[in-house]
Amino acid sequence: MPRRFVLAGLTAAGILCLSVVASNQVTRVPGAEYDSDFPNEKPGPAPRRDLSGIWEPARGPGDAIQANGAKNMPDTGRPEHQLPFTPEGLKANLANKPAWGPRLVPSALSNDPQPTCEPQGWPRIILHNYRTAQILQTPKQVLILYQFNRKWRNIWTDGRALPVVDDVLEPRFWGYSTGRWVDDYTFVAQSVGMDERTWLDNVGRPHSWEARVEERYFRRDAKHLEATITIDDPTFYSKPWVALDRLPLRLQPDSFDIREMECSPSEFARYQKEFAEPAAGVASETPR
């Protein structure tokens, strides 16, 4: 057999072997693409009292997009996803005209503050299009840097108490947050004072001035963190409800480059004019 055919055959066999190996093993490229979970992985133990790092939904970048509402309670119309609205809460909910979910209206008729680039605030930043986030820790703070609109928020860990929610307190889009370690691997933060103009999620779930949001992070192992969000708002909901239930996040390499995801009012206005308004059969100013 001519030598070149032998070499070609060996090369083909090699490629075949490599492709089999590749299909059975790791298909990720750390640092270049999202570093996601893979079978039979055995991450090391969780570090003590440490949330720092770049985190991405472990089941893939789209796992926490939540177009149809908070991931644990999407607005599907099913009884199990019915929220415990108070009459006041239901009224506020119906006043919101979302462009998503069973109550959707054409986007040109929606009054969702987010697409027009109003500050989406806390907790919607984690219940809307939650992708990569970097967590920084200092001795006094946990700082979270979100990919969407490159916004940061601060959770104080210096022992200060939450402010009293009264008529004097200045509303903030990101609220007032304090947190503490309840054990070496569980960090719990509480937030109050969120501006009532913000929605909780894409389908227009509202919150009142009395809302309190609990976020719980459990550091499961060296590579994973779980995020849980609970809404406690007795004015609008008759009991607390879980909006995000142990969402698994995976640690990305320190060198991971978080790409931009920006909101531009002029781009949205152009979209409204060229697509959304003709689709809705209207040709007026963007309603709010």
Partner: protein
């Protein structure tokens, strides 16, 4: 031999003696709040040879505020080093295109300001400001965080963050409409692509390319232009424990005939407990402002 209890007393005495020294080492403005949420103070204690402490090595971290107080980094009249006030020494080296672009901008501030309702500043519609304008728009309390791979700047305005890589990666190559990284095209970014390197133990030099084009962003609030061909060089110099100098030079051959210094901002360290109020941009509120005030002021 010293007994265990005596040793404990001695340790406590030593600690109590040391504590005032540690406290005295901080030259923050004094802040206080009975509820634990202290507002910023801008009364900087004077630095003397006795109170000025050496800068820590290769460390910019902390909460920093302009030495000039809460208005010290506002820059409503244009970038700090060249305010737009019509004086000859502040005239910029525009190219023909740069001057044409400047004249097309209707700023609400500066020597050529128009009435509020007539301005076309992208900021007033809450468009992203871009780098370098985030450095020239209401710089107030700014938090800097460091880890071994990066420096993170947390701007007060609009709760925006920015990464400066210090892990040795190269500055991307500027190409038409974006940058090239590892032979591949990458998109333009509002914050560009920034890399930094320590030129000595107290000086970080940062370069940024790959920013937004001139139809999206301005350099400052007076309508000076900036383009996606700019190379921004920032120098962060930690002068002492409590002092930081943040300077910036821009090289944008599309609109300026030569590089020029835009800023040399002196900053002081603040108490890390300080609660930074929100400073956001709301398109709806901007529209309401124009409706109730700006348009009236412009006779519209």
């Amino acid at each position: 031999m010293i007994s265990r209890s005596l040793r404990r007393v001695l340790v406590l005495l030593a600690a109590s003696a040391l504590f005032p020294i540690v406290t005295a080492a901080q030259n923050y403005p004094k802040v206080s709040s009975p509820d634990g949420w202290p507002s910023p103070s801008w009364e900087y204690p004077p630095l003397t040879p006795q109170t000025r402490k050496p800068a820590p090595r290769r460390d910019l971290s902390g909460m920093w505020g302009p030495l000039g107080g809460h208005m010290g980094g506002v820059q409503a009249g244009g970038v700090l080093s060249k305010p737009n006030n019509g004086r000859p020494e502040n005239a910029l080296p525009y190219t023909t295109y740069g001057l044409e672009l400047y004249k097309s901008h209707k700023a609400a501030e500066g020597a050529d300001a128009v009435l509020p309702a007539e301005n076309n500043d992208p900021r007033n519609k809450c468009e992203p400001l871009g780098i370098p304008r985030y450095n020239h728009y209401n710089v107030r309390l700014t938090q800097i965080f460091q880890d071994p791979t990066k420096v993170v700047i947390l701007y007060h305005y609009d709760n925006r963050w920015r990464i400066i890589w210090t892990d040795g990666r190269k500055l991307p190559k500027l190409i038409d409409g974006g940058v090239e990284i590892d032979g591949q095209f990458r998109e333009q970014r509002i914050f560009g692509y920034s890399v930094g390197r320590w030129t000595d133990d107290n000086t970080l030099v940062v370069e940024t390319v790959g920013t937004y084009p001139e139809d999206r962003v301005w350099l400052d609030s007076t309508g000076r232009p900036i383009t996606d061909q700019v190379r921004v060089t920032e120098t962060f110099k930690r002068i002492s424990l409590d002092e930081l100098e943040w300077s910036e030079t821009i090289d944008d051959p599309k609109v300026y005939t030569k590089p020029w210094e835009t800023m040399r901002l002196q900053m002081r360290l603040h108490d890390p407990h300080t609660d930074v109020m929100e400073y956001y941009c709301s398109p709806y509120e901007a529209e309401q402002y124009n409706h109730f005030f700006g348009n009236d002021a412009s006779g519209k």
